[in-house]
């Protein structure tokens, strides 16, 4: 688990360093960073025992609306 997370983080970090090094626009770096953090959060959630399940939330919302 830790190795897998480190692998993903390492890969995304290399990308970030490359983007900063090649002077990409700030907006692109920010989008890359946000998406990378979301990806890491989703993987952390998987290893932490599935606290976040989008389908369950969507299902709950549809049931709450009475549809």
């Amino acid at each position: 688990m830790i190795r897998y997370m480190l692998l993903i983080s390492g890969g995304l970090l290399i990308g970030l360093v490359y983007m900063i090094g090649s002077r990409k626009p700030m907006k692109e770096i920010a989008v890359y960073l946000v998406l990378s953090l979301l990806a890491l959060a989703s993987w952390f959630d998987i290893f932490a025992g599935h606290l976040f399940n989008p389908n369950r939330w969507i299902g709950w919302a549809i049931t709450w609306m009475g549809l």
């Binding site: 989008v31 979301l38 998987i46």
Partner: protein, 368 residues
């Protein structure tokens, strides 16, 4: 590589994209659930769902005519303003990401359950997403050309194999026919309308790239997808019978696995696996591209790679999180997919269409 670069695809290419997107995963996954609920009359469900989809296509075309050069994401921001339109655009981006995750998970489930049970599911996900990411960075012209080359081949393989399977056809397996009431048929067609028909709203992201015959290509693509889906349900019932097909996860795979031609050509399942992976790949590329281009258009990014690369890991993560197993996916699909897809495929496009028309009329007002 620019996110805002103008790319063009022909009407024929858009037609193939429509067929691939509608059938990519549904061709293998849908027959089992259709037959499980509607038995021998299952072949009527895609026809009913296809007819309902005409209403959706009418809304999509109306929406795309308001601002023909804008995609859904751009249209949302244009007609609803930055805060509300931005939220609608974000919802659509989420929908594209979620669709990509569903497609990826369908592939992973199939590979893990049927072909390589000892390989971790994420391996399939990451490998496919890596290629889809590359295709998304290269752009829609590349995806459309790939689709142009691969689709005829896949359809030829599928049709040939299923024609060979017709020797097992038994008319008695289709009996009793026409036993389902119209009300039950309408109720059972709900999940099929949600997936794959309303899900196809995603390809409206590509509408500004289509040079000509957008409406014709979309309608013909949907019609062909409907006929192929209805035909494959009929073949499955005629060959395997409704009770057996309804209990299998992938009845088409079983048909091909049991197929034997001229007593020495057998084990043809690898051919169908290749065909299906090609179809899934094309659908995944399109959904992935829609997600990437949506992000680029919303945040006005010039380079697609910055958005495309982290999406590999995000989609792979969501694909695992979506459902615990195949059964969870089936249960969710049966209960919620229609309502969920209606929101993105009918409600939001109708809202954007109305807002766009209202805004255009208001602009014209003072001049007149």
């Amino acid at each position: 590589m620019s996110g805002t670069l103008k790319e063009h695809i022909s009407g024929w290419q858009f037609f193939l994209i429509t067929v691939n997107y509608s059938l990519g995963t549904a061709f293998f996954i849908r027959p089992a659930s259709i037959i499980a609920t509607t038995k021998q009359d299952g072949w009527m469900i895609p026809l009913l769902a296809g007819a309902f989809t005409l209403a959706a296509v009418w809304i999509w075309m109306g929406m795309s005519k308001v601002y023909p050069n804008l995609s859904i994401v751009q249209l949302a921001v244009e007609v609803a303003g930055r805060p509300v339109g931005g939220l609608i655009a974000l919802l659509y981006i989420w929908y594209f990401i979620q669709t990509s995750s569903w497609v990826t998970r369908n592939l992973g489930d199939f590979m893990k359950t049927i072909l390589m049970p000892n390989t971790p599911i994420t391996v399939f996900h990451i490998m496919f997403l890596g290629i889809a990411c590359y295709a998304a960075i290269k752009g829609i012209e590349t995806i459309a050309r790939t689709s142009e080359i691969l689709t005829p081949l896949v359809i030829f393989v599928m049709v040939t194999i299923y024609l060979c399977a017709m020797k097992e056809w038994d008319w008695s397996k289709l009996e009793p026919m026409f036993q389902t009431s119209f009300a039950k048929l309408v109720k059972d067609s709900g999940p099929v309308i949600g997936f794959p028909y309303l899900e196809t709203v995603s390809i409206m992201m590509l509408a500004p790239h289509v040079k000509s015959r957008l409406r014709t290509s979309l309608l013909l693509g949907m019609t062909l997808a409907t006929l192929l889906l209805s035909g494959i349900v009929l073949v499955t019932v005629g060959v395997l019978g409704a009770p057996r097909s309804g209990h299998l996860l992938y009845p088409l795979y079983t048909i091909v696995k049991e197929l034997q031609i001229a007593e020495f050509i057998e084990n043809l399942e690898s051919t169908i696996v290749i065909g299906w992976t090609v179809w899934i790949f094309l659908k995944l590329c399109i959904a992935y591209y829609c997600a990437v281009i949506g992000i680029c258009q919303l945040f006005k990014l010039k380079n697609r790679a910055g958005a495309a690369i982290p999406l590999i890991f995000l989609i792979a993560g969501i694909a695992i999180t979506l459902n615990d197993n195949v059964i969870g996916n089936i249960v969710w699909d049966k209960r919620y997919i229609f309502q969920y897809s209606c929101f993105y495929g009918m409600v939001l496009p109708l809202l954007l269409w109305m807002l766009g028309k209202f805004k255009k009329r208001r602009r014209k007002g003072p001049a007149a």
